[in-house]
Symmetry: C2
Subunit: 457 residues, 2 copies
Amino acid sequence: MSNDAFVKELVDALGDVVVTDANRLASYREDRAMFCDAGTPCAVVLARETAHVSDAVRLASAHGVPIVAQGARSGLSGAANAIEGGLVVALERMDRVLEIDEDERLVVTQPGVFNADLSRAVADRGLFYPPDPSSWEFCTIGGNLATNSGGLCCVKYGVTTDYVLALEVVLASGEVLRTGRRTVKGVAGYDLTRLFVGSEGTLGIITEATLRLRPAAHRPRTLAATFDSVHDAAQGISAITRSTVIPNLLELMDATSVRAVDRLLRLGFEERVGALVLAQSDAAGVAGEEEIAQIAAHLRDAGAYDVVLAEDEAEAALLLTARRQVLTAFEAMGTTMVDDVCVPRHRIVDLVVGVEEIAVKHDVVIGVVGHAGDGNFHPSVIFDGDDPDQAARAHAAFDDIMLLGLTLGGTITGEHGVGVLKRELLAREIGPVGMSVHRAIKDALDPRGLLNPGKVL
Amino acid sequence: MSNDAFVKELVDALGDVVVTDANRLASYREDRAMFCDAGTPCAVVLARETAHVSDAVRLASAHGVPIVAQGARSGLSGAANAIEGGLVVALERMDRVLEIDEDERLVVTQPGVFNADLSRAVADRGLFYPPDPSSWEFCTIGGNLATNSGGLCCVKYGVTTDYVLALEVVLASGEVLRTGRRTVKGVAGYDLTRLFVGSEGTLGIITEATLRLRPAAHRPRTLAATFDSVHDAAQGISAITRSTVIPNLLELMDATSVRAVDRLLRLGFEERVGALVLAQSDAAGVAGEEEIAQIAAHLRDAGAYDVVLAEDEAEAALLLTARRQVLTAFEAMGTTMVDDVCVPRHRIVDLVVGVEEIAVKHDVVIGVVGHAGDGNFHPSVIFDGDDPDQAARAHAAFDDIMLLGLTLGGTITGEHGVGVLKRELLAREIGPVGMSVHRAIKDALDPRGLLNPGKVL
């Protein structure tokens, strides 16, 4: 597709925020997902303000050019992949925290701020922004909003959408919409805010967000429990989620995951480890001691052969780093396809057992890691991408994992999104009436289908 | 409007679930709001199952008959008022709790269940459904979903939408949509669930809901603080919301409210009371003692002349009953217009002072009561409805309160909804782009405009 006239008009209008150099354009092709179609854009707008986004969208719309919004391209579903000859609106330069209001406990931010930078900025004021994807150091708030990201502490504190008070959104027409409000409650009109959160850039481009904050949490107590088998570990997790204890972190790593990070970080785990459970309680004072003791008891009852409390913050931080580095460690082992299923919490054992069977059936390595307390797992198929036979088996295993999730009453994606990767399975989960309502809303807000076409729907 | 052919077909199709008796039809005309247009329906379908709703909507749609869904008609904005000659779909007989899943901490319910009945049913299993409107004994879950109801404990636990996992919705076409899922996380597709929550029956009719529950909370400690002036009380509340304490209840009653319930319930408040603050902490053990002590200290610092801890559950229950009965007590004093503004929490003082000024300006009585910890207030204009001059001044005061809320950065409705009552002010809050997006979504889901026409938009 040649869009020379469009690119010329764009450069005339926006000047040096427009990238047209071929080498630089190539670096905006795709996110971190494997095996998803991507194209080279005709131009990238490195927006610094909302007006840049609005002007670019209006021009692209006038020329019928498809538009893809990008944050840090750390997504795992291809949702941010560029369209061949289309426009990319990159939000990475809209990277300022605009306001922190301590009295109202809210932050107003541009979309290009890294999650960890925002979290640290509000922590400096004694406040807490809970959503914490494993990729927090290199994913942006805009991407978190577009996919409704979860993270490690959402088992207690909820996901991104639970923290969004208001948005500024550039619509397909280029018009600027403001949704929501700064008050903690409000029911004037439809909940447009939460319609845009998780819509993966298909309904509009988020250019500003007002996010609710919490008071700083108490320093958590951190526990690591080792098991001979992932089955026992899953039983222990189900026991905790059935109990009245609400940990602020409850993660599972199977043997493959433990060994992968052990190779990367040299942590010295013994060979016996079949599964590792990490848990935290951030309840205050005595209540926290009681909670972590109850969690430990549930895990021991399920067969943990060792339960260790982190002795200090450094040790706790090391354990969390191990968890956060699993996907990176997998990538060092080969080509990876990271799945993202979420099942009802009493089906966790069925999921991990089912994934083991899928690995055997397709003769592939699958490492299982996840936010177990939410029933949200990332089984990752690790294989030699240069071997077509292995790749075919990996794909088959990946699809089987999603279907297993659906069979267990779960979803094809707990937090990574649909993007390109899972587009064909969406209808299977939400059914024909659900699909027709999705299409009606998409058509209402983007009648010409220019916003992130080929993604989600 | 004569809809004889429609009514005949409806009776032929659904038999004795259809009400056509004129006296009974009259009782389905309106909700609890004052001064909102209402009509007498041509028929009421007392649905007992989703198929009744679906069949009735399909027939009404074929005949171009407008459709209004009703729960308990306890709403305060006219959103459930019938349309002259239209169809009412009453959900009051769909009153069964279908399933309580203790492991997954969720409840599946029909819409006609009273909030308090559902809360008690899950409490019997050691679980907790937080949203608790003051009307909980006589409002239904379906109505709560339609207006995204708040309540007393949402200052700590959030509002209705925060607890909705999945919905079954009858669309304008009569098709049955299922949104969401039973898992705690899930991002497959748009967040349709939260689009329907709070849409006041204008996008579809909710026929089933899957609601998230919490473990039972600890027994709260309850405190009552009395002040000479509502200004001081508001200062105390702002001090608490700025602090790190998160009470599970933080309510304000002004002198008019205290005297009104005192007359109704004979509680023996002294004449001096200028404002009453009720607060609770349900933190466990020592943390709860510390929290309630901190709350008491903030209120004393702000000028409370008396701070009393409830000695037992009966005393705490009496204080909460007093709070819940305020609107009923106002109704015993005359005609009432209950407003529902929500402002940023540091503007609480400006709101209560501004409302006092509005009362003086229009020479009317305004009682102020509300969920002060959320900045959500219900200033109620109390007047003689038979006196046209008083009624005109009451209306003017009511509108001034909403405009004051907007001026302070707030919203025209924190939890009661827009309905008929606030329809003309919606555009003022959300602006022309917001209105056009609302209309696009409404047209996409209800192209012929038959679902609750004349409400919200």
